[in-house]
């Protein structure tokens, strides 16, 4: 009897676990099925590298969106990575334990703020500031980069803090005993030892930045053109799908799914790098 229950529970758990995997697989398959034929018919080069996106005329080139996503994400990294790294080092190495117990949950709470709120702040506060000081429409790469940079901070910070905290104290003592100063200990021993975790945090933040849609739609202006400067308006891949999916049919709809395929590939490659960075850290 007991063996039967054991087996029953085992089976039940397995079905639940497999169905989660199956759902993920189905989603991926569906996107591929809808998007891949379009890519092959149009040709990968024409689809990725043509600058003309005119659904009404049957022209589907996502190059401007690809560039837009790239710039906004790169900008978010420029804003988020130094802040995240410096913040993680400061929080995990310099402040007393009781203060960390307050600060770390606060940072993690940042991740829980809905992206539409970030976008709203971007539209109401950041975009006018950029318009006033740097010219241009305000809704721009710069605005998107700053908002996204802030949005990915919690990811980078909390993973980096965890990996810095996981560096054995004996490493720090060893370095101190060899006459290293606190800063030398941090940048010669602690950060290298925590590097794989920090890299994983940055890559996950990167993935979040590329995938973010709502806040980005609100602050980047969404113009389909190649940007001339950081204060120009762009459209990202995610925004492209979200903006046009409501009315797209036929070829247009397939083109949007194909855009999804491109995003999917980018995210999968990033996750692969994040996972292998984490694995490298474990092996050491």
């Amino acid at each position: 009897m007991k063996v039967l229950t054991e087996k029953g529970i085992y089976r039940l758990l397995m079905i639940i676990a497999l169905s989660a995997i199956a759902m993920l697989l189905l989603i991926v398959l569906f996107i591929l099925k809808e998007g891949l034929p379009f890519i092959f018919i149009t040709g990968i080069r024409d689809f990725l590298l043509s600058s003309e996106w005119k659904p009404a005329a049957g022209k589907f080139g996502i190059f401007p969106m690809l560039v837009g996503s790239l710039w906004v994400t790169l900008g978010a990294m420029i804003v988020g990575v130094p802040l995240g790294l410096a913040g993680a080092v400061f929080i995990s190495e310099f402040i007393p334990r009781w203060a960390m117990k307050i600060i770390k949950p606060t940072i993690e709470l940042l991740a829980g703020i809905p992206s539409v709120v970030y976008g709203f702040i971007g539209v109401m506060v950041l975009a006018p500031l950029i318009r006033d000081y740097f010219g241009g429409p305000g809704l721009s790469i710069a605005a998107g980069a700053i908002i996204l940079g802030i949005m990915i901070l919690p990811t980078i910070l909390s993973i980096s803090i965890d990996s810095i905290k996981a560096v054995p104290n004996s490493y720090r003592e060893g370095a101190f005993a060899l006459g290293a100063t606190h800063w030398q200990t941090i940048h010669m021993v602690v950060i290298p030892a925590a590097r794989s975790g920090i890299v994983a945090g940055i890559i996950l933040g990167l993935g979040r930045a590329i995938g973010e849609t709502m806040a980005v739609i609100m602050v980047v202006g969404n113009a389909v053109k190649l940007p001339g400067s950081a204060f120009d308006s762009v459209r990202t891949l995610t925004a492209n799908i979200a903006l046009e999916m409501g009315y797209a049919t036929g070829k247009h709809r397939e083109a949007l799914f194909a855009t999804g395929v491109v995003l999917l590939v980018i995210i999968m490659v990033l996750n692969y790098f994040a996972a292998s960075a984490i694995k490298r850290g474990v092996k050491k």
Binding site: S170, A177, L178, G179, T181, M188
Partner: protein
């Protein structure tokens, strides 16, 4: 040669409110090996870590009293803990190689001081590893990770790393506690030679090790120093009954 390297007057150490060392007075002659024996929890390690201000890293610990290194008060507010740690190297109970190559581990401190000359570093690495009796085992794989060495080799690497710093004093905190007899013998051999150049303070749980290598021995018990004298005297005619009980294995 008979000069005192350390003069310690009325050293009291507190962990929060508990006193973990009670009025220690001791003079450590230079170019000798001082062995410190005593059961775990008797305050040996805290004492050792007071000597190079490693206790600074533990906010709960407070040190009172005077520790003079060559006549200089190392707890004086103007004294720089980092420069003290460069003069007083330390080897821990558990070997803690940094996650880098053998070579990089040895040159960690010289690298801090900004030495970049490869020839000089190569020579230093060879000399330090030789003094730590490790050179022959690793000379062909200096660039491989130090984490791949065995425990005994790692501990000798840690010793080599300290030697490359060219300190004046070497503190060893139970350096052989996790090692096999052969590795232990290798470290003891190294210490006997090194004392010509350095002053060595060796904390050990292994009473026999103190008898083998130490010139002077101090016995710590219950946060106090019970007895201190030439090793021979401590092990043959101890002045205190507790010392006698401990070294003959009646307790501890």
């Amino acid at each position: 040669m008979d000069k005192n390297k350390y003069i310690i007057n009325n050293l009291n150490v507190f962990w929060n409110k508990a006193q973990v060392l009670r009025s220690i007075d001791i003079q450590v002659p230079s170019h000798k090996i001082l062995g410190i024996i005593g059961p775990s929890g008797s305050g040996k390690t805290v004492f050792l870590r007071s000597l190079n201000r490693m206790n600074d890293l533990v906010p709960e610990i407070r040190v009172e009293g005077q520790i003079l290194l060559d006549g200089e008060d190392i707890y004086h507010p103007e004294c720089d803990a980092v420069s003290i740690r460069k003069r007083v190297g330390m080897v821990f109970a558990l070997p803690v190689p940094l996650p880098a190559s053998i070579y990089d581990n040895v040159i960690f401190n010289p690298g801090l001081s900004g030495i970049r000359d490869h020839k000089k570093l190569d020579l230093l690495v060879e000399k330090s590893l030789k003094s730590a009796f490790l050179w022959d085992e690793v000379k062909d794989r200096l660039k491989t990770s130090a984490m791949r060495l065995s425990g005994g080799q790692q501990q000798r690497l840690c010793l080599a790393r300290v030697l490359a710093m060219e300190p004046e004093v070497i503190l060893l905190d139970e350096p052989c506690s996790g090692l096999d007899p052969i590795s232990t013998a290798a470290i003891e051999d190294a210490l006997r030679i090194l004392k010509d150049t350095y002053t060595i303070i060796l904390v050990t749980n292994n009473t026999k090790q103190a008898a083998r290598v130490a010139d002077n021995t101090a016995f710590f018990l219950m946060n106090e120093m019970v007895e201190y004298g030439p090793t021979e005297q401590i092990f043959t005619v101890p002045g205190d009954k507790r010392t006698n009980d401990y070294i003959t294995g009646r307790f501890g």
